[in-house]
């Protein structure tokens, strides 16, 4: 039997390859990046039998995948949870058009925000779009479920959402591989009118999607991935979702004494839950992320049984689950623990030695010092670390591209100077349209487009706009005399600060592009050349 040691992410990727995937569409984002990378470096990827080039953002990825599905082939879209916000329009409407070739949308959530700005739970999106959701509990399930998800998508003619959490995405275990399926042939959808969401057709499609719900619920209720195991003691029933199941079972190596319902396929299996509620006086809901299931069970009217979980305080309201908090919620005594040492201090991440962003912040701070009213709007990437000491150089970090648009809004309100700091990959992801807004309204902002020729934060993936930024800015209407390219090195500090000060004082849109390759990708290339 073919076995491999795989991260949860890689298990999804291998599962998709074996399920006859024709294209993966994604923008890098922790903890989802390794899925696409695995496909890119797989034999099928290297031989270009599977389309695998990075996309500019999650919305272009989602739409391209929908196009591949339209053409009859199986497509996978991968993103981190906040990417779901970016592609939400395409995602929700993909449920309205329905799909032809199997379409699996993979959202990797990040409870505890190891590398993110919020801990939103993607399961809400699946419910919102009225489609099935799969949530694997371990690496083997991640592999098996991917093929299952493609089949389910083609049976229902709807996209299927798969939800991972960081802890599974980035944890390895041995996976036994199954059979492989050939890719679908190119073929046109039968009901081509479904794809034209004019109001009259959309109303019909909406009713069809609603009418499909009993079928979607039945398949979840009968799913091999939702398993009820009876236990002798009915004083408590446990509902454990996805990876939470492991934290429950960790407490009972000889088997759980209470009935356990493991949920890995939504919508919720309602009849099983009603039966558990009737048999057990108390239900404990254990789920990673937001209280998605607990809220559904609880509602606002009194329930015949006690429901416990994150909302009632048995489990913490936020943060990722772990064996310790689950143990406590189950009423088991804590293990004896060594006291934490008071000597230990936090060691936050920092910009690498030799990183070009360092010179950018060094220069920026030198000028901003003379402009106490200046506000610097930051963005998402390695350079967000400029918020920490020693630089403390940015005043905001919200979402991809928000630096430019927030600077514009602040400038419109009278903030001067209003400065945006954005990386190259973030700029093409969601910054370009904001720059066009600023140009059109002649907002007095300076955009520092810190270009390190890669998507650095996630490990150095291709950046969509490399060597195109001057052309993009000019094309959007930035004036040539207010577009500058500099090399962010300590010896160029005088030139960089001079240009910055000059442009901060210009009452229109200016763009400064400090450009120098990421030190990490540079070192990696040097190492590869040595071999």
């Amino acid at each position: 039997m073919n076995k491999k040691l795989l991260l949860g992410d890689q298990a999804i990727a291998q599962g998709a390859i074996d399920a006859g995937l024709s294209g993966v569409y994604a923008y890098p984002g922790t903890p989802s990046t390794e899925i696409t990378e695995y496909i890119q470096t797989s034999p099928a990827g290297r031989q270009n039998r599977i389309h695998h080039r990075w996309c500019t953002n999650e919305k272009t990825a989602m739409e391209a995948a929908l196009g591949m599905s339209y053409a009859g082939k199986r497509a996978l879209v991968c993103m981190k949870h906040v990417g779901m916000n970016v592609c939400a329009d395409a995602f929700v409407n993909a449920a309205m058009t329905g799909v032809h070739g199997g379409l699996v949308v993979l959202a990797a959530d990040d409870p505890s925000m190891h590398s993110s700005q919020n801990e939103q739970d993607s399961r809400f999106y699946g419910k919102f779009a009225m489609i099935p959701i799969l949530e694997p509990s371990n690496q083997q399930e991640a592999y098996d479920m991917t093929a299952f998800a493609f089949r389910l998508s083609e049976e229902l003619h709807e996209p299927v959402l798969m939800r991972l959490v960081t802890r599974l995405a980035h944890s390895r275990a041995v996976v036994t591989l199954g059979e492989t399926v050939e890719q679908n042939a190119l073929n046109a959808p039968a009901r081509s009118q479904n794809w034209v969401l004019l109001p009259a057709i959309a109303r019909r499609r909406n009713r069809e999607l609603i009418a499909l719900q009993p079928d979607i619920r039945r398949k979840a209720a009968e799913s091999p991935y939702n398993a009820y195991t009876d236990g002798g003691d009915h004083t408590l029933g446990i509902i454990a979702c996805g990876i939470a199941y492991n934290y429950v079972m960790e407490q009972y190596p000889e088997g759980c004494l209470y009935p356990v319902l493991k949920i890995a396929h939504y919508p919720l299996p309602e009849n099983t839950i009603r039966r558990m509620a009737a048999e057990c006086g108390r239900l404990l809901v254990v789920e990673d992320g937001q209280p998605f299931v607990e809220e559904q069970l609880r509602g606002i009217l009194p329930t015949p049984c006690t429901i416990q979980g994150r909302l009632s305080g048995e489990l913490p309201r936020d943060g990722e689950l772990n064996p310790d908090c689950v143990r406590k919620a189950l009423g088991l005594p804590a293990l004896p623990v060594n006291a934490a040492s008071p000597l230990v201090v936090p060691r936050p991440p920092a910009l690498c030695q030799g990183c070009g962003h360092r010179s950018v912040y060094e220069a920026l701070n030198r000028i901003v010092e003379h402009y106490p009213e200046a506000r610097v709007f930051g963005d998402i990437g390695c350079y967000t670390l400029g918020a920490l000491p020693p630089y403390k150089a940015i005043n905001s970090c919200v979402d991809m591209g928000a630096s430019i648009t927030m600077a514009k809004g602040a400038a419109d309100a009278g903030v001067f100077p209003a400065i945006a700091v954005i990386g190259d990959s973030t700029f093409t992801h969601s910054g370009m349209t904001g720059l066009l807004d600023a140009v059109n309204s002649q907002s007095p902002i300076t955009v520092i487009l810190s270009d390190n020729l890669t998507t650095a934060m996630t490990g150095g993936q291709d950046s969509a706009g490399t060597y195109k930024f001057e052309a993009i800015c000019l094309g959007l209407g930035v004036e040539r005399e207010h577009l500058h390219v500099v090399t962010p090195l300590p010896q160029n500090m005088e030139e960089i600060t001079r240009i910055m000060e000059q442009e901060f004082n210009y009452r229109g849109v200016s763009v400064i592009i400090p450009r120098r390759e990421c030190i990490q990708t540079l070192m990696r290339k040097a190492k590869a050349q040595k071999k």
């Binding site: 922790t30 990046t33 064996p323 623990v337 920092a350």
Partner: protein, 189 residues
Amino acid sequence: MKTDIILSGVGGQGILSIATIIGQAALSQQWYIKQAEVHGMSQRGGDVQSNLRISSQPIASDLIAMGAADVIISMEPMEALRYLPYLSKEGWIITSSNPFVNIPNYPDTEALLDALKAHGHVKLIDLDALTKEHNLGRAANMVLLGATAEFLGLPFETLADSVRTVFESKGEAVVNLNIKALEIGRAFK
């Protein structure tokens, strides 16, 4: 048989290669393995850790409970101390004694090493000195692994085989260097 291991260090110090070699050795014994890693932002010079669980029986949780780890393997003394609440009362700490100072408020080194020694079950290894003395280049992490060998529940030879397998593609010189480092670590008392 089950061993719960916490590997720790600072981003870039090579704790994941130690995990890979132990994992490979466990697999060669038909054991189960779960290895939770840290990717993303923290890898930029921040603290990194990996939960490695190896067992002859199936493993449920990807994470180790507090007070349950059998061993902490650390490339850095403060990072070893950080995970003390995860170590069982009988657990061992095998750590480099060389501080990696990249923050302004790094604690006093003597106090740090004393706190580690106070735990009792600890091997403090001056990896910098050993690496220099034996000319081990970048194989310091294999010294650390060698010093850990007796606590893993795996025969030493399986670790050596695993080192050979993992470094095979890099040529015989690299394999030999890493095996030498592993042996030096094993001999450390």
